[in-house]
């Protein structure tokens, strides 16, 4: 484990193991215990803890913004971006007017390693692992695609019933503890106003729905906010993004994260696909972590700002 004295000595331009990331979280919490706490929202199939960082200046169940990274474990740039963003929030609070004002009224939750079993597996056994590590009875194939396991059009088109498929939906909605833990947390919190789920790659910003062609009731607002967010993102390095509803922009996908969150009443539900356009895929070189996180942060702050300015 890369031991660190403080979070400034952590190398944000490198990929890290699960132990290193969990260790980094503990150091961040100890450095800024007045702002950051670590919540255990559940445990994985292989019994690893699932942690969420909570950024809060007080109050109970304040309106909140949720960010998760790495539900598909091999998308390493997403977990790395989550770390960078968490550090950015911690650093900017009290210095940056926008982050300070947000945190004076809202909480921010960041789940950096959404699929810990899968992430550990990518570091130890199979760099290309995407799913959870749960055992499927009656099959020798392991794991469920946690982004097809949510109770939103579950079992419909755009997910597989074959346990050997990379998009296997699982035996039932919420069968994966990694999904159920978030579901329970979101329901018990009850006041999450924006939910941002981050994937890679292919450079897209998407909003509901994925399981149906029926437009989301807030489609117009979601679309114009997506455009604004992408304008902000592109302003840094000129990275081009597509944006739109999942089903219209990529393909039909049932049981997806943000379709469920949107149906729960979280209006500002978005999912990102970060860099790259097709040179490295899931093996994006580490020197691109910080530029990726920086540009994504601009889009995320745009969504945060809109959420902050448009209470509902």
């Amino acid at each position: 484990i890369e031991q660190m004295r403080n979070t400034d000595s952590f190398n944000y331009a490198s990929y890290h193991t699960l132990d290193e990331i969990y260790n980094w979280m503990d150091v961040l919490v100890s450095e800024q215990s007045n702002l950051v706490s670590k919540i255990n929202i559940g445990s994985t199939f292989e019994n690893r803890p699932i942690y969420v960082l909570k950024f809060s200046t007080g109050g109970t169940k304040r309106p909140a913004i949720w960010i998760d990274t790495g539900i598909h474990s091999r998308e390493w740039v997403t977990q790395a971006s989550g770390i960078w963003m968490a550090k950015k929030i911690a650093t900017d609070y009290g210095k940056d007017a926008f982050i300070t004002s947000i945190l004076n009224e809202m909480d921010i939750f960041i789940e950096i390693v959404t699929n810990p079993d899968g992430f550990h597996f990518t570091h130890t056994k199979n760099r290309m692992w995407r799913k959870t590590r749960s055992i499927n009875s009656g099959s020798s194939c392991v794991g469920v695609d946690p982004n097809r396991n949510w109770d939103a059009g579950f079992g419909g088109a755009g997910a597989s019933s074959n346990p050997c498929s990379e998009t296997y939906r699982g035996p039932r909605a919420n069968s994966e503890s990694e999904v159920k833990s978030i579901v329970d947390f979101v329901k018990s919190h009850g006041n999450i106003k924006a939910f941002i789920s981050i994937h890679s790659y292919s450079q897209m910003l998407l909003y509901p729905y994925g399981y149906t062609k029926t437009p989301a009731p807030n489609q117009q607002e979601l679309h114009s906010l997506a455009r604004k967010a992408i304008d902000a993102l592109s302003s840094l390095y000129g990275t081009s993004y597509r944006y739109g509803s999942i089903i219209n922009t990529i393909y039909q996908a049932s049981g997806g994260t943000i379709d469920w969150t949107y149906n729960q009443g979280i209006k500002y539900s978005y999912t990102f696909e970060l860099r790259d356009t097709g040179r490295y895929g899931f093996i994006l070189p580490a020197n691109q972590i910080i530029p990726t996180a920086q540009e994504t942060w601009l889009a995320i702050t745009t969504i945060m700002e809109h959420t902050y300015n448009n209470p509902y």
Binding site: T124, K125, R127, M128, R279, Y280, G281, P285, A286
Partner: protein
């Protein structure tokens, strides 16, 4: 540890929905053990597929015989993974 020596990632560009359908058929062939990093959706969007070394010839023959354009996005997946590992070790030291 699973190794990917000789595995390639192909970037496939389709010209019409008929070719997209052909790629979807290819996706169904489990024996090829293909991993679609970006699935076939629309002629406007490329498809990226990780092809194990053992299936490379079959996949390339399939694409060429159906006049489907492709390029090699990653020549040898294992070498890219190795490079990533080296970078991680360097940054630790």
């Amino acid at each position: 540890q699973k190794i990917f020596v000789g595995d390639q990632v192909l970037r496939i560009v389709t010209k019409d929905m008929e070719q997209v359908t052909l790629l979807k058929d290819l996706e169904e062939l489990e024996n090829l053990e293909l991993d679609f990093w970006k699935g076939p959706t629309h002629p406007d969007f490329p498809t990226d597929v990780h092809v194990p070394f053992a299936s490379l010839q079959a996949v390339k023959v399939f694409l060429e015989s159906n006049n489907i354009q492709y390029s090699i996005m990653i020549e040898d997946l294992q070498s890219v993974v190795e490079e990533e590992k080296i970078q991680i070790i360097r940054s630790r030291s």
